[in-house]
Amino acid sequence: MSRRLIVTMILVASLPHVASAQWNLARRTIGDTRLSMSVGVDPAVIGSVGLHHTVRIVGLRTQLGADAGIVGGEADLRDYRARLGAEVQLVELGQVRVAAALSGIVRGTSTLLFRGTNIGADAGLTAGLYRRGWFVAGEAGFDKAILTHLVHSDWYRERVYREAKDGWYLDNGGTWRFGAAIGVSVGATELLLRGGLQRTQGWEPLLVPAYLSIGVGFDL
């Protein structure tokens, strides 16, 4: 792969594109800001906090967003995710809306085998029925693990493979997802439930084949 393409991929993943979190599009107005919190299994137990702001970009209503999350288990701060992105509403036909999302992601982990850092990107498409008090939508998306940096542990080198190579790995696959989201709103508060199934880029089953999360958002 050429240097130009690699650098372009990194920049694309790092720029503020579309947020993958799926909230009620009917409640978004230009200039509003929302705080969100979610917890779920996606694909590990993860809790996150995010901030979203709605703007108009080239005539399209766009939610810019950022969130940060910590992966469960022993709540190791080295197991984290940070996302920066946006969700663009592409179609509005009465109560039917279609939105596309893209986000750049940085993830970290510390495991028995390695310490890892990943630069990824997530692209998604949602379509559904949106009213101010509730919505239901279907979603499909792909989370690409673009670049992954690994540093192997002493455990791995002693017990398994002394010559394991540390460094940046490219072409690491990704995860498809297909699911649904429903949400209800009470006053300035929004509740969200998302769930669905996941497969690897090569359509292999995952250890955790499904994702499920609940979220709450507050209009600020």
Partner: protein
């Protein structure tokens, strides 16, 4: 954008220019015999197996069966060592091999990763090294199950067997103990690490699958009480596909384990030594005592202070138990 950010982006871009691929043999996991011709190997039944022998080929043959399914024989090699003037490698011609799709042997897809194929492989191995003469089996964990299944199907091809920490011999037993065997609490660090790792690379080829499976090495089965840390039981490489598909081959359509390796087992009158680690809570003494009557002529030795990895952590005690068993006239007579 200040200079620090420019330097950071530059460093990432520079790193990206020196990227590797996970599927490349030797990067994440060692190469198999298909990629590394320097590894000792044999070919049987259309598959290339990582294998080596110890001892005099004219001696009775002992075939060593590693655990898993999917693991390798690395942690079994110390059993070829000496205990004073006793050595299995002096008494037997020992055959160490990584089973089909496991360790450093050739990788395969689901079609040839079945219990029937595994049986055919072991029969071919016995015929290759010990034509017309029964073999001795030495198995650990899954290797004990595999060896028992082979005895069940071919009782005349086996002279005697030594099985260490054998897993459940029937699907019904597996179903009964499986919740004790695996720690699948969603809050466990190992489980979350394993799930979270799928966002760093997806298991779409053998190298990534095998690598990813190892993330559960220390956390998945805590009641085995195996030695933890860098000096625990070693292995070269785990075969993820064979681990998955052999397990599935023992299940019915609902995912319930239905295999039975004991249907004809009592027809075998050769001697069997079962060895358990006293600290192995699920696969240890209690399970081995329960499974002992499945064999017509078996005895059990419990190694004090050992976990499921007893052959690695307590090699001397295991060799002592084997030496005493082979010398004892009380179970089936001495050789």
């Amino acid at each position: 954008m200040d200079g620090r950010w420019i330097r950071c982006l530059g460093a990432v871009a520079l790193g990206a220019c020196e990227t590797m691929t996970m599927a490349e043999p030797g990067n994440l996991v060692p190469a198999t015999v298909m990629e590394n011709p320097a590894l000792p190997a044999i070919t049987i039944n259309g598959t290339r197996l990582h294998a080596e022998t110890r001892g005099d080929p004219s001696k009775p043959v002992m075939i060593v069966l590693h655990g898993g399914p999917g693991a390798d024989y690395r942690s079994m090699l110390p059993l070829a060592g000496a205990l004073g003037d006793f050595s299995l490698a002096d008494r037997y011609f020992m055959v160490f091999w990584d089973q089909r799709g496991a360790g450093l042997s050739q990788r395969h897809d689901q079609e040839v990763l079945t219990l029937d194929q595994y049986d055919a492989d072991l029969l071919a191995l016995a015929d290759r090294y010990s034509p017309g003469r029964p073999v001795t089996l030495l198995g650990h964990s899954w290797g004990g199950m595999y060896g028992t299944s082979f005895i069940d199907r071919h009782p005349t091809r086996v002279a005697e067997a030594i099985f260490i920490e054998t897993g459940p011999l029937t699907g019904a037993t597996f179903e009964r103990i499986k919740s004790d065997l695996y720690d699948l609490n969603i809050r466990r660090e190992w489980l979350n690490d394993m799930a979270w790792a799928t966002r760093f690379f997806s298991a779409d080829d053998h190298a990534r699958m095998d690598y990813q499976l190892l993330l559960g090495s220390e956390g998945a089965q805590p009641r085995n009480n195996s030695r933890r840390g860098p000096h625990g039981e070693p292995g070269w490489r785990y075969g993820a596909k064979v681990s998955r598909y052999l397990m599935e081959d023992g299940q019915d359509a609902n995912g319930t384990m239905t295999y039975d390796f004991t249907a004809n087992l009592r027809q075998f009158t050769g001697r069997v030594l079962l060895i358990a680690g006293s600290r192995s809570e699920v696969l240890g003494p209690s399970l081995q005592r329960e499974q002992l009557p499945r064999y017509a002529n078996a005895t059990l030795r419990v190694i004090d202070g050992a976990g499921h990895d007893v052959q690695w952590t307590h090699t001397t005690a295991v060799l002592t138990a084997i030496r005493d068993f082979l010398a004892s006239p009380t179970v089936g007579g001495a050789r």
